[in-house]
Symmetry: D2
């Protein structure tokens, strides 16, 4: 039996495009996805750049006009890896063309955009998925298993921090990620949104928030030279949160934490145990089970054959890296496309995440708790 093929168009070829392309290339070499991806065309605004990238990324063709690309009848799947401010138009076009859509997070730069995208994919009846890749780190999936098994009991606390340090130097330039018109927000949408997604995935819906945003360095050198420009996004975003199920928590994203490179950490406390995860040691899950005086947090190396996604890779103790989280996402997206169902997180999750970001901003402005 030959497996069905899926023709893929990748929109965007920078950092995220590279990560997705790698996953599309690798998924079939390790897993047996329900369909075989064919890397048809990569699309980018810069003709030269995308032409150079195509062979390295493994795509057969390259193009500059995303509208043409997503409308091509031979394309089955559109994978959106551009910056957030262009997600809307690409997704609307792809939905109109009836393509299955994978979109890199954040879904959009604001709630109305996100809602429009969700409406579009629903109306078009296409499969849609948001790429919050960290959900598919094996250790995060194992955390999910533990919570769902009930072995941790009732969940009381979520504590999520996503810390980086790349702009702590005040002379670091005012890149596009520091412009509200392009990035939507700063640490809030870029990294705190990952913590919020993990909170929703692992604990449940958040009903209200108290937020705090701060910009420590208000002006920076322009990247193109010639003076300084204003930073109109947050350098750090903090929030207290309440969950529907009675749990409480805190979430923080900051780009001002020296020594924290990609420190996406969470701690969850239930009535019978606790979990700790840190992306910088993403092959490990710390588990505490209450079992008398000789209990303790144990470091589980999540590399056993029975651990989520691991059987496809290497023997125990042979660790995976950052890029593998995308391969797992693409795997599940392919399954979804073949089955005709949208895997979580889908665009509805994207809308909910966007509403959380908006509620935090609103809370920051009004200085009071806000319902989501």
């Amino acid at each position: 039996m030959t497996r069905r093929e899926l023709n893929v168009a990748l929109i965007g070829y920078q950092f995220m495009g590279r990560a997705h392309a790698n996953a599309w290339r690798q998924v079939g070499a390790f897993f047996e996805p329900a369909a075989t991806p064919v890397l048809k065309v990569v699309c980018g605004r810069n003709a030269e750049g995308v032409a150079a990238a195509a062979p390295r990324l493994g795509f057969a063709e390259h193009a500059v006009d995303f509208e043409e690309v997503v409308a091509r009848p031979d394309i089955d799947v559109v994978d959106v890896c551009t910056p957030g401010d262009s997600h809307l138009e690409v997704v609307l076009a792809a939905a109109r063309a009836g393509k299955a859509i994978l979109c890199e997070k954040p879904l959009a730069n604001n709630v109305p955009q996100a809602e429009a995208m969700l409406a579009a994919v629903r109306e078009a009846g296409v499969v849609h998925m948001l790429c919050h890749n960290y959900r598919r780190a094996p250790a995060v999936q194992l955390a999910k298993r533990w919570i769902e098994s009930g072995r941790l009991g009732r969940i009381h606390h979520f504590r999520g921090t996503y810390l980086q340090d790349w702009i702590v130097d005040p002379e670091f330039p005012r890149v596009w990620r520091l412009e509200k018109s392009r990035a939507g927000s700063g640490a809030l949408g870029d990294i705190a949104s990952h913590s919020l997604d993990l909170a929703r995935f692992l604990v449940g819906e958040i009903t209200e928030v108290s937020g705090l945003l701060e910009t420590f360095v208000a002006e920076r050198p322009l990247p193109e030279g010639g003076g300084r420009g204003a930073v109109d996004v947050d350098d750090a975003a903090l929030a207290l949160v309440r969950f529907e199920n009675g749990a409480i928590g805190s979430v923080e994203g900051s780009r001002f934490a020296p020594g924290r490179k990609n420190h996406n950490r969470f701690e969850i406390n239930g009535s019978r145990g606790s979990l700790v995860f840190d992306l910088e040691r993403m092959n490990e899950l710390q588990i505490y089970e209450e079992d008398g005086p000789d209990s303790g947090f144990r470091t589980v190396l999540v590399t056993e054959e029975s651990h989520p996604y691991v059987a496809a890779w290497w023997p125990p103790g042979h660790i995976l890296g950052y890029e593998h989280t995308f391969t797992h996402t693409i795997l599940d997206f392919i399954e979804g496309v073949v089955a005709g169902t949208s895997p979580a997180p889908d665009f509805e999750d994207g809308v909910r995440n966007q509403r959380l970001l908006a509620a935090i901003e609103r809370s920051h402005e009004t200085r009071r708790w806000q319902s989501v």
Copy 2:
């Protein structure tokens, strides 16, 4: 030259009384305090109990009436180790009697009490000190040195959590610490107050807060048997905070974190480096200094002769324990008594801490930020 003697009256002989008594006994065996403490009398409400405790604690006499004790002309120093609801009356009596006063934290159960105590010691002109013992862990003092040296740059973030797990079982009894009338508050005043004190000590004054309190288990078995009683204090307390100097932060105290026994942790991020401390490994300070690609958090074992308080103890690598933080506190208190100056934290710090707790409670009730 013979050193002056200080006659000590210890009020309270339970957990804190034991810790203070040990410090009074030990301080002269390792340090050379400016005066020699003489352990005169320990006072407690239960005649039998205090009689049995006196010889073990090293006190010559025992008594049940604190008013008589603090008025004794041969007493120089009153050390208050009773539960918070009796601090006010003991301190007022001791101040009236002109004694130097060391008072265990929290200073009081509410702001008016704390303010009355501060007014009393000021009026009496006596030396006063609050025992927030963790300030005097060598690693915390080393953190202070680093911040004051400027090597961490401008401070942007404080992240303090004090996590325990001793009441996570819903069948754990409704002990006095879970009664508002006796304990003032729950995790807020008992442990989050430590994090707030460290925040003030290391980063500076807090100007406004957004607080969240939660009681997960609203009713528990009465300790004396015979049914269940209401829990009217918080099981967990969280707050977002803003500091006078522009830093922002979060503080959390919870007794519902399985596996966290006495996890008093803070992380501080400055513009050039970061610090991490965890009381369960209190002989270590994690320091990050930005110095190129081979930088990293380093674990400093704070046991070198030049580290704060360490020269008096053991060679490098021979660690200290919990009780030593009290010995250091008593040492500095004695110096203060002899010099006639109140060492930090003093009762004014106690008032400020109490105002922080009150602001967090107010914020919780009003669901908005509150100035302190």
Copy 3:
């Protein structure tokens, strides 16, 4: 300018074959190797197995007769990934055919075989390289940089342990790795040999050894069923070693260490600092530099752009996995093939490593120190 192509024949398609195939596929997508590898043919004894593997591994053709394959005029490079007992014949054939050869470690099952292979590649004048992949973990390369920079001073100690636990259960079957005739030795050649290679790479040549071998479980169920078979290799191998440069050390490999999955750890102490590496956290290097009382082991996340091999991958804090060490090996092998020079470790390193294993065995038998 079009880059030269290198036609690759992969001999063996199991665990190691998969790891090498992945590296051959990936190297050009992230690096710009001096030649472009073309995955021509994969060869294995089982016709059905190798036919199924070829497309997944990305090879165009498959074959069962390695002699034919290595003799093909269109093949430039032979990559040997079969078990150790067949390395000799494959390498001899490939050398005769004038191919550049990459051979998975251990080079051979004994010293005479290894010497014959070295003689063959020298006589044929072909490029040869041994795949000790862990040398090319970025953190191990960073360790090398630190030692060579002199910042650690004179090296005094090497402490290498490679611990696993997969055969600690006495009912685990007598697989081929537990048969001397096929595997050459047990933990000694399989894992202690990695530690010895790292010792030689980082510290220098070893001149004498005192060895200890132990087989804890002498008989195990046969994998094919039908009774039990003798284990005639070591379960654990330990050695004390002396280096040419005056350093001393210890090396241990064991498959009987519960909880240690792939715990390839070393600690190196110099006169001015120390290093610690652990493969299970392979993106980290612990560095200690003596610099006064606030010194401490620091955890360097070896994911910065300037770290060895890292620029080709992801931003700081986005970690690599086990498989990347092979990609780096293949990269350097390609450079060697194009330049006509054999990259380290080459077959001479393989011979030296084999002599170390032999000396440890000899020492174990004679119960005395042995020169290498």
Copy 4:
């Protein structure tokens, strides 16, 4: 009922004398020993020094002539804390006088001395105990419990390292610990002997050894000035060992490991689990129990009420320090004196330990394995 009193004579008042004196003072304040120690007299060669030390150490009297002191009829117990070269004469005198004897490790500077001491206490019929204080860290006792419970299964491996760095600077002076005539040996007797004692305590008797001694810096400045003197002890000592019960292991002591201050670490692997201890984090025991794919090393904070010795101290999570190991030793010694039985480790353990050191030295010289 009044408890019996034990009059104590402490011989030696430096580092070890301070540690023992503290334990004698503290034991009754936290535990309820079977007899109450009375700190009668401290003895030292330097009249002025010992006179100054007595009040700080809490001893009523001081003396310079140990022979007189140990012969005093009012003395019940002699505690020997002098350097190793004087243990013999003090112990012989104390035994002759019929006193119970606690002797700091190492028992002696060589085997004949140790044997003479054992013979003397046996002939005199007095209680004798060797102070290997680390046996009585609560975490080490917990390790013992786990091994004895059988939950770790059959023990296969012991890996003990005791690393320090205080003489790595070649200009560090030639202090008495670097003179064979006074110290007996270097790292071997001072620190590797601790690892050997822990090996015997936890795993069992060692039957044969292969040893390696090294002196990296052969000459150092004399402490009193005026030139350089030879170092005739080892800077580092390594050994492979075989245990009576079939386990194998390695032991290393070094004073040349930068960053390791008092790194007394062991790892033990059994057939069903593993243990790791590190003195620098002496309140923790790492335990691994094989229990499926979600197993992992867990960090047990050994501060629970049911943990060895802990109930007498503080609540969970409130850690103990170095000095507490001596308090526990003294506690058990007092119990032994009252019961008339010698607690382990006793002088026979001292002789066995000394024979191990001698066998390692013999092995080093002969370059072959030696029976103990």
